[in-house]
Symmetry: C2
Subunit: 141 residues, 2 copies
DNA sequence: TGGAGTTGTATGCGTTTGCATCTACCTTAA
DNA sequence: TTAAGGTAGATGCAAACGCATACAACTCCA
């Protein structure tokens, strides 16, 4: 077992443990964690996002994401319109209500995240962010 | 946004990107990535594992895991028997075929993991393993 | 200009998931 | 010994998922 494999296994365990902990917190209201992930991703972008772009951030298959956006649109949290420049595509953004929902859930969740990661030193936090950032940006050659 | 939140977001992003990449690799055969996770976890333990113990490692609800084990038992990859000491519980272990399957998939997958994480320096790999290990072990107070 | 190939998203369909709940077994203490 | 409460997994059911594929719009070159 290489160091790389050990690191990846460790990362996966940390992810599983923390995800379970966050999921168990009573902050999600009428939104699942996966749905929140979409709302959060949209909240970070001022300009509307394409499905395919959103799909890069979210761990869901393209059809699953497409239908999840359907539901979020039906529930009035997300606005979807055809991209005028490329009429195959869509532009997604939060509705005011979607933004409100994201913020109301985001606040307590962010506190949970802070609490959970505060077992790390500031230096470790910086290292973790830098290393995982590097991983996320690496493209397959 | 605190450093902790940035680090967590970065970790999530790295996880999503790499999971998608691994999932796209053509190494999984008749087993899904989630099923492989179970087979792999079982493969690391020589003594049979309890459902609840397994469930701590795998990102699935208890009922979903219960049924997934059902399927793996039906397919002859996992052996399940009642725990003689506590007859509510079960003891899970790989069958010889399960172990074979795990290894056959594990080999090429491990290579993918190594390739993906080799964008990091050896020192970064050690830091990542140490930091995520610390996170995984931290229990809520 | 048009036909072939590509890309972005949606849909049909069988499988898997999570939530709530159930059952069976263990533990404690009266 | 037994009733009350707790814990380990299993099951009913509706919702959500992934795979394959369909469809529409774009691109590019003949």
């Amino acid at each position: 077992m290489t160091r790389a494999n050990e690191a990846w296994e460790s990362l996966m365990r940390a992810y599983a443990v923390l995800m379970k902990r966050f999921n168990a917190e009573d902050v999600w209201g009428e939104v699942t964690m996966r749905e929140y992930d979409v709302l959060y991703t949209l909240s970070k972008c001022d300009s509307p996002l394409r499905m395919s772009e959103l799909n890069r951030h979210v761990l869901l298959s393209q059809p699953a994401l497409s239908r999840m956006v359907d539901r979020l649109v039906d529930r009035g949290l997300v606005h979807r319109c055809t991209d005028p420049g490329d009429r195959r595509g869509v532009r997604l953004s939060l509705t005011p209500e979607g933004r409100k929902t994201q913020q109301e859930i985001g606040r307590p969740h962010a506190r949970s995240v802070t609490r959970a990661l505060n077992v790390l030193t500031p230096e470790e936090l910086s290292q973790l962010a830098a290393i995982t950032g590097k991983l996320a940006q690496s493209e397959e050659k």
